[in-house]
């Protein structure tokens, strides 16, 4: 049941259910992150390293919405925005025009800035090192 009675409810902690998805070469429920989900584990690819996962449509999440993505495919894969949406990651149209390259074992953080600017994505290695900003191509 939604908690609507308190704007700032005090919790000792929050457990976020992890959504497992599999990269693929077309948009489907298999590889699309549902709106509202904040923790994602990419468990594999269907074909090859050109397979991709898809972020939610910008209008379905709030400004500042942050998604944590664990890359556990055993190899590279890509990240896109929904097909034909012209929505951006790191200031590049990633609806298939360009893609954000994801590297195995890294942890990605993806934050919605707003509906115009789109998503900002950055990453850490599995041992906490900052990954150089990725320019989608």
């Amino acid at each position: 049941m939604p908690n609507n009675s308190q704007l700032y409810p005090p919790f000792a902690g929050v457990h976020f259910k992890v959504k497992n998805i599999t990269a693929d070469d077309s948009d489907s429920a298999l590889n699309t992150i549902p709106a509202g989900v904040v923790s994602v584990n990419v468990v594999g690819v269907t074909n090859d390293t050109d397979d991709y996962i898809v972020l939610p449509l910008l209008k379905t999440v709030q400004d500042g919405h942050e998604i944590s993505i664990q890359c556990a495919t055993g190899g590279a894969f890509e990240m896109r925005t929904p097909a034909s949406s012209t929505e951006l990651i790191n200031n590049k149209d990633c609806d298939g025009t360009t893609e954000y390259l994801c590297t195995d074992t890294e942890v990605l953080k993806v934050v919605k800035i707003d509906d115009t600017i789109g998503w900002m994505a950055h990453a850490y290695s599995a041992i906490g090192a900052v990954v150089t900003a990725v320019v989608p191509d």
């Binding site: 919790f11 259910k17 923790s39 900002m120």
Partner: protein, 137 residues
Amino acid sequence: MANPSTTPNLKGVNFEAVQLTPDDSESVLNIIPSGAKVVKCLDGVNGVNDFVTLPSLATVRDGHSIMIICNTAGMEIRTPASDAEEINSENCDGTKEYTVAAGDQIHYFTKIDSTIGWMGNGYTAIGAVVGAITPGA
């Protein structure tokens, strides 16, 4: 209805972005409410020296983190006037300010404790780490 669990198991959480307008003095326009998690900053009233104000340290818990989506022109972050509270080990109650460059950057502020104050760090809108900011006068 209050959520009876102190450690709820959720798929996600939507934090409503509090929209603020940086200004050259403190008012309801530019003070971050205690407990807010996401702040979206609009264009400043005057210019790049306009600021938003973090909550008083006493009103939030150790470890409380706030995401601030800064505006396009650039702006400043302060602690409440005359409280001597610090960001990155500098008194930011107006004595000094944490200055954010132009470009819709995302900055995170984490309360260490009521003595040490806030740690601030940030990213550009295209995912690059912003070098640690030492607040200046």
